[in-house]
Symmetry: C2
């Protein structure tokens, strides 16, 4: 957990290596067996050119970074906005970076606004987005 | 895939039953082994009162609904906004509903705006949100 919530503070990055085995396991866990994730010969014939990781696997890594930083404040009522730019593929190494953009008060409640980005090993942006975390309320 | 993209059209709902086994498998697939998801005796001592599903597992089900409706348009460059309201727990049955809110043209590109909600068997809202899907461009 972060010991200091302050604007500009970087969150601990998360680094993950994507493999076809991880994608297969994610398909089983999520129940999403779309062949674009699993069937290399099918996926090669599509405009995506090969299998891709489930987009929500990338967001799972974002969520892991947020949970490390904010714990239950993130887990119980976070907000997320994400823009998928490029798919992640087997063999990619993803780095998820995040930062506290600002801390705001609204109706006596304090919120942290963070931004994040998920990059692959070539520096290509896979996902970008923002999160909002309720930090504390003076009504509680 | 949807054969007709029109405003007000409901997407095929997705129904999923949450079990501790599925959460354990998701932890393995995502690499997120936070004990709030896995350790029932630890989780019982927290304000959440028991283990909860990873929030991104709920979004995986949303993504499955979106992929069924929009295929690669969703997979390659979708946008998502989500608000986590309540955690999903082992034993819950989740229903994910979605609808095309509006279809918009912007700079010669056509986009579908959808909303979604994920409810449990008691009718409690687990997640709500919106998605945007690029449908076609007259520049391509």
């Amino acid at each position: 957990m972060l010991t200091e919530i302050q604007e500009g503070k970087a969150l601990n990055p998360v680094v993950k290596h994507i493999t076809q085995e991880k994608i297969n396991l994610y398909a089983e866990a999520s129940g999403d067996f779309n062949p674009i994730h699993l069937d290399e010969s099918f996926a090669a014939t599509t405009p995506l050119g090969g299998t891709i990781a489930h987009g929500m696997l990338n967001l799972a890594y974002v969520s892991e970074m947020m949970t490390s930083a904010f714990g239950q404040s993130w887990l119980s009522e976070g907000k997320l906005r994400a823009k998928f730019k490029e798919p992640a593929r087997p063999g990619d190494t993803l780095t998820i970076n995040g930062k506290i953009d600002c801390v705001e008060q609204k109706d006596g409640v304090s919120y942290a606004n963070c931004n994040f980005e998920c990059l692959n090993q070539k520096g290509e942006t896979i996902v970008t987005g923002e999160t909002i975390i309720k930090l504390s309320s003076d009504k509680e």
